[in-house]
Symmetry: C2
Amino acid sequence: MTVGERVRIPAREGRAIEVGAGQAFRVIDVEGQQVADLFAFCAEDVSEYASAEHTRAYVDRLFPRVAEPFVTNRRRPILRFEADESPGVHDMLCAACDPTRFAGLGVEGWHASCQENLEKAMAELGYERVEVPQPINLFMNIPVEADGSLGWKPAPTIAGDAVTMRAELDCYVVVSACPQDIVAINGLDPTPIEIELLG
Amino acid sequence: MTVGERVRIPAREGRAIEVGAGQAFRVIDVEGQQVADLFAFCAEDVSEYASAEHTRAYVDRLFPRVAEPFVTNRRRPILRFEADESPGVHDMLCAACDPTRFAGLGVEGWHASCQENLEKAMAELGYERVEVPQPINLFMNIPVEADGSLGWKPAPTIAGDAVTMRAELDCYVVVSACPQDIVAINGLDPTPIEIELLG
């Protein structure tokens, strides 16, 4: 993938890209109201990955602000939140959707999921078995109420909204255009995501 | 371990117990103002474990209420929150303390940590390498503000406060008497925890 190139991730699918330390990339909500699950694994050892629980403790927040880092399960900055061209609503509380999630929602038979998209993308890079981290759920609207209850609301993004991240370590970044169409986080209509590699 | 038996976990240490499906146990803050990091792994396959991010999505809350379950990374109930004889303040947002946490806090040389306590307890059961899940941080006081910022406050417990959990799967339960003495979550004075096996 070269600088300026865009990778289109079709609705309900996932893709991995390699990003070198110092390089930045944008994750773009092409049509709006679409969640992008983002994962980052250290290229030199994929057992080290962007970790929500270590990041929360590092920045003392539910989600980093622009200029703050996402850190790994070894508390090393792996991505820096460089720019937010969106309403600024993101989540790191909810697990990736997976076959057991859709079974619990009453789906019979196979349903695309962010977990399978992650596993498939990493397998294509030669990693047949990886831990499935808590994702960085870009554009995902999970309000936290004062009593600790969580809501599941449609993403507030419009077409072209985007987030820019800069890698601080060589990493594999996986993005899944979330296939959730039972709970309304994607407005019940999953749509594509794009990744643009910057300098 | 037999019914009614209590295991004393010295300050800054951890212990594992085996709990059969249907059995309950209490985790007791012996002296008060002490966090207990709790982990639960399925006995038949320790790659399945109590998962904070799956539990939040299952109960639609930051932390289950009494009578609600903690579920695994395969969304199966593994523990049920049976009783809470404490102020009801608990956390599932912050990673276990570990060597990199203490290094970041300026500690030079070795410092006991919940992650090492977990790894040591599981190694004694024959599991030399396990994923380190986001713990169920009993009695831990991490207020979440409306702007998404997190606080690190002393545990509000007094001597004898306790939580009761009932296993829904055969599991290994690991409890660490949190050794954190730089951040004030344990009142800067780590103390013991006890586990009591119930029927």
